[in-house]
Symmetry: C2
Subunit: 631 residues, 2 copies
């Protein structure tokens, strides 16, 4: 997060007294947000909605006129004295203000990748000791609660579901209850003071894997984290085959919807059990996932996503309850699906942006989600562009002769040195196949050893003998039709009793996959007129991305040629982003604004993408990367 050293003369200075902190922000930012941004969080109970009046500051210098909200809260005299609601007050010229009240106990946590996030969940609990009704005070049950919440800064509505429970819970608890407010909705009323129990769920709904996190919204701490295979694998391995399934089967949509709900509800049972949390104590859920996964989760037809021009039905949903959606937690709990940038740059990438702060920071960064569909975002707070490149399933181990998913027996890392070959196998067992990260490694290592040419071709067996040890050279084999392969494991070394090989065709598959992503990166770099020297960081995301060896990614030319220390595997960035959106309403608003901010470029039918694609099919010459071949 950069708050000093303005890069542009249009920025505005805000001075906060008596804390003597100064920040420089773009025009139009509210004083409330500017203060939060520099770790000086101003008190507010309404979530900066201009209703609670707690965020008042006194403007000592600056041009801030009074807003309608100010006129509602302050007297004319106070207005004349400069009192304003900081959450409504946009700075449009240099401002000096006095902050009377900071947040009692501002909690912040380091989340995502060096993101300093202030806890500001959309869920709040308010303990209430209500006056019992009498003949003199015949307000209805709901009015009684609504009136008691008003001075706390909440103007609430309630669903019929909740109203049906109200008479009972109020009287059983002798009018001592805790109101649970999510946004503007009263989602629950609990007996006694339950303010220490406040939970939410963040889900990353991946095509292959679903990750669930149960979060304590009071502390920001994860209470439990679990993952499960997406049960829809039976109906197809990738997004396109899931969409086809809904088109080819009469109840396909409903079936896939039920399957993902079973996966999610199964995870919920495990998470709540591990955390010792009851279903009714979960008040909000944030999900991230690609457009197809979110559509199937919501039971909305994904068919138009699968056909040109690739249109999702919804990109942002704010109105669903757990009951409507079918999650087995508090029925009134609110479900928030993070928005998408497009049919093929999903909410998982929006979450990745939150987790990395890419679109909020200075300095150009690149985020690549490596998978069947490569999702690519490049930019900074000034401008951000995104695209999606169809990489095919090579990275998932499919279409590769001995390819497999990253599970027990998969070769996940490979080192080749003059003496021979070192394999790292998941589960420390004899290898049975090659997963995506192993595939990248073996190709990168073959390039380093000189056994593979920039074109992707293996050297001839006789040339190999000149380059490397006989032990290694004899691993390049040639079949009766003259096709070469590289033997990773001889039959006696493998877990299957058959040899594990990398064929010339496998290398071509990888070249197409990496070429597609590299081509996409090329297009967005041209769009922003950025070259690789200017890149501050490259983030590799996705469940596969986090296992890629950054050096291998560089050697095969999957990412631009930057120093290897600038390449960072960021693991489950989508889940981390969903968690940030759950814990900070302000960050969720940022997520909401991203689809308007990030420019999406569709690659289909783009001439320059095809040019780039062909240009990057080759592997880079090692000297262009500053690397020396060891052989």
């Amino acid at each position: 997060m950069t708050t000093t050293a303005p890069s542009s003369t249009t920025k505005i200075s805000i001075e906060f007294r008596p804390h003597d902190k100064v920040t420089r922000v773009p025009p139009g930012m509210t004083i409330f947000n500017a203060a939060n941004w520099i770790g000086l969080p101003i008190d507010s109970t309404c979530g900066a909605k201009g209703t609670c009046g707690k965020c008042k500051v006194r403007i000592l210098h600056g041009n801030n006129g009074a807003t309608a909200a100010d006129r509602r809260i302050f007297t004319d005299e106070e207005l004349a004295d400069g009192w304003r609601l900081s959450c409504r007050s946009e700075a449009n010229s240099d401002v000096v203000c006095h902050v009377p009240r900071l947040m009692g106990n501002p909690k912040a946590a380091l989340m995502g990748f060096d993101r300093h996030v202030i806890l500001n969940p959309n869920v709040n609990k308010v303990p209430l000791s209500l006056a019992s009704p009498s003949l003199e005070d015949q307000r209805s049950d709901f009015s009684r609660i609504r009136d008691a919440l008003k001075p706390e800064g909440y103007a609430v509505e309630a669903s019929l579901n909740l109203l049906r429970q109200l008479p009972g819970v109020l009287r059983r608890n002798d009018w001592h209850v805790t109101a649970v407010v999510v946004g503007h909705e009263l989602v629950s009323v609990e007996g006694g003071d339950t303010t220490d129990r406040l939970f939410g769920l963040a889900f990353d709904i991946g095509t292959t894997t679903v990750v669930g996190m149960l979060i304590d919204l009071n502390s920001g701490a994860p209470v439990a984290v679990r993952s499960a295979l997406n049960g829809q694998a039976v109906q197809g391995a990738d997004v396109i085959s899931r969409i086809s399934y809904t088109m080819l089967h009469e109840d396909g949509l409903s079936e896939l919807n039920q399957v993902i709900l079973r996966t999610l509800n199964g995870l919920i049972v495990q998470l709540l059990d591990e955390g010792g949390v009851a279903p009714h104590e979960v008040y909000e859920v944030v999900t991230a996932g690609n457009a197809t996964m979110q559509h199937l989760f919501l039971g909305v037809d994904p068919e138009p996503i699968g056909l040109e021009p690739f249109i999702p039905a919804v990109e942002d949903l704010v109105q669903a309850s757990a009951q409507e959606v079918g999650l087995e937690i508090l029925p009134q709990a609110q479900i928030h699906c993070l928005p998408y940038l497009g049919a093929y740059v999903g909410a998982d990438l929006i979450a990745g942006l939150l987790a990395t702060g890419l679109a909020q920071n200075e300095g150009v960064r690149l985020l690549v989600d490596v998978g069947t569909n490569g999702e690519i975002i490049l930019g900074s707070a000034s401008r951000t562009v995104a695209t999606a490149a169809p990489a095919g399933p090579a990275f998932e181990g499919a279409q590769i002769l001995d390819g497999m998913r990253a599970s027990t027996g998969a070769i996940e890392a490979v080192t080749i040195n003059p003496e021979g070959l070192e394999l790292q196998v998941i589960g420390d067992v004899p290898p049975i196949g090659l997963c995506g990260s192993g595939l990248l490694d073996v190709v990168a290592q073959l390039r380093l050893s000189g056994l593979m040419l920039p074109s992707g071709r293996f050297v001839k067996a006789e040339e190999a003998t000149e380059l490397v040890s006989p032990e290694l050279a004899r691993r390049i084999i040639t079949d009766e039709e003259g096709r070469r392969s590289f033997v990773l494991a001889w039959p006696e070394e493998s877990g299957s009793g058959k040899s594990i090989v990398l064929t010339q065709r496998d290398v071509r598959e990888l070249q197409f996959a990496k070429g597609s992503i590299a081509g996409g990166i090329d297009v967005v770099m041209q769009e922003l007129d950025v070259d690789s020297d200017e890149l501050v960081e490259i983030f590799l995301a996705g469940s596969f991305g986090s296992y890629i060896n950054p050096q291998s990614a560089r050697i095969i030319g999957l990412v631009p040629p930057v120093p290897v220390e600038k390449i960072k595997a960021v693991g489950n960035a989508a889940g981390e982003g969903a968690k940030i959106a759950l814990l900070s309403f302000r960050e969720r608003q940022v997520a909401r604004s991203l689809p308007q901010i990030v420019e999406y470029h569709e690659l289909s039918g783009r001439g320059d993408f095809n040019d780039s694609f062909l240009a990057v099919l080759q592997f880079p010459e090692l000297d262009t990367l500053g690397i020396e071949k060891w052989a």
Copy 2:
């Protein structure tokens, strides 16, 4: 509706050019409402929410500052020229303004009792021809619709239900659809242009009878009106026995909820069938009913209504959909239950206030809903007070020896003249009992004939002979214990073969019932310091109220002694009010504000009510009413 002749010097004058109309209004009224009020409706598509910008006027003279909404819509230059949104512009000093655009085709209807209501339903249809998606325009289905609705002045959200249907309906209809907007919610998207089909339902959910009206929201005309007995009669005849049922039976609440839904859904089938309307063409429902009926309809526990201090769980509900509630129409259709004034002055009375305009007009009026629970409202636009008086079941024919409900065979009207007796019987059959209106009539006629004393006692048989013809005199009979009765039908005249009589005890029951209501009226008249000369009108409401002979009501002292032409039976005022609230969003807002405006006075435990009650048990002396006894 009174718009001229200000009664107070605090009123403000608003002049509308070029129409040269002037009105005088209380300070704070918006220019938009003031114009509507005098039949000069200004154009608006957003329902006066400050978003569509169509209601703009130019202020030529007056102190109207710009609001936040003005600043959003107008340029600085336009603001300086005096342009303002009339829906946001409150008049606080005399104003002259120029109105550029009246509503294209303002429709108004005479509804309720001389209420001139401008059609302004909360439901609107907008035909849309959407641009097909392309690679250059990859907006989601929902964004596409939302964006198309923005220039029409609608900022909409949508439920998950609707989003699930969106991809299909848009593509099947080649992007030519009609959006149906209720308030801020997109409730339906229909293929083609369906703007000529726009329907809503208004229900009066009475304890005994449920009335349903299917209304064409384009024309304001009722398409079909049906009534049915409330199926809950099996579980008890009155509110208290229904509440008891929910307390004494484990699933009592759910059972009564299901029963009323069956009644309502049965009516819906009949109404739609008669009107040739499909369930999905009904977009909004307004209900009026007493607090207990509305709670049972919503499935909310009514128990606290039955016990002191008589507290409803909710008094106003805005968030329920037809699906949540269980009505078999468009699942996303919105259900609006009119608010209550208190546990015993229900939404039916709020609807009655809308239908009569009592709280909106000058001049003090009295509205009495005559039933088991007498609901009483007195006042004018200046101040309105309400109360509820426990009248007991006499008016329903219960606790009366030969009492019955107003159905076939019931004596509903009685005339006594020197020659004898004339009975009017429902269904023109031999009488089998006496219903409420007949009970009032016979007592009033006995008073006129001199056969009954102001104390309520029958004269002795020998005195009767001196007063009236022998035919009539012999109808006063005395049993062996000296108790007198009046014979309405001899055994040979009746349908049951037994005589139909009015006993001294029946008269006492009626005295208690009318005494309770008259006592309640006394209390509110004292509260407002109004005497009967000042009453402009008296409205008798309720299914029973509409059958009462106003003269009889006057003679027995049920209502204050005003000239009989001032007493008006207003029939199903609750249903009429629900219809008004359905057809006019503005009137619905008035209904919403009434609970804050009308002062409710609880009679329980009030000393002055007990005093009044005892004072009015007697029947008035005829000369105080300006009536001469004929005998």
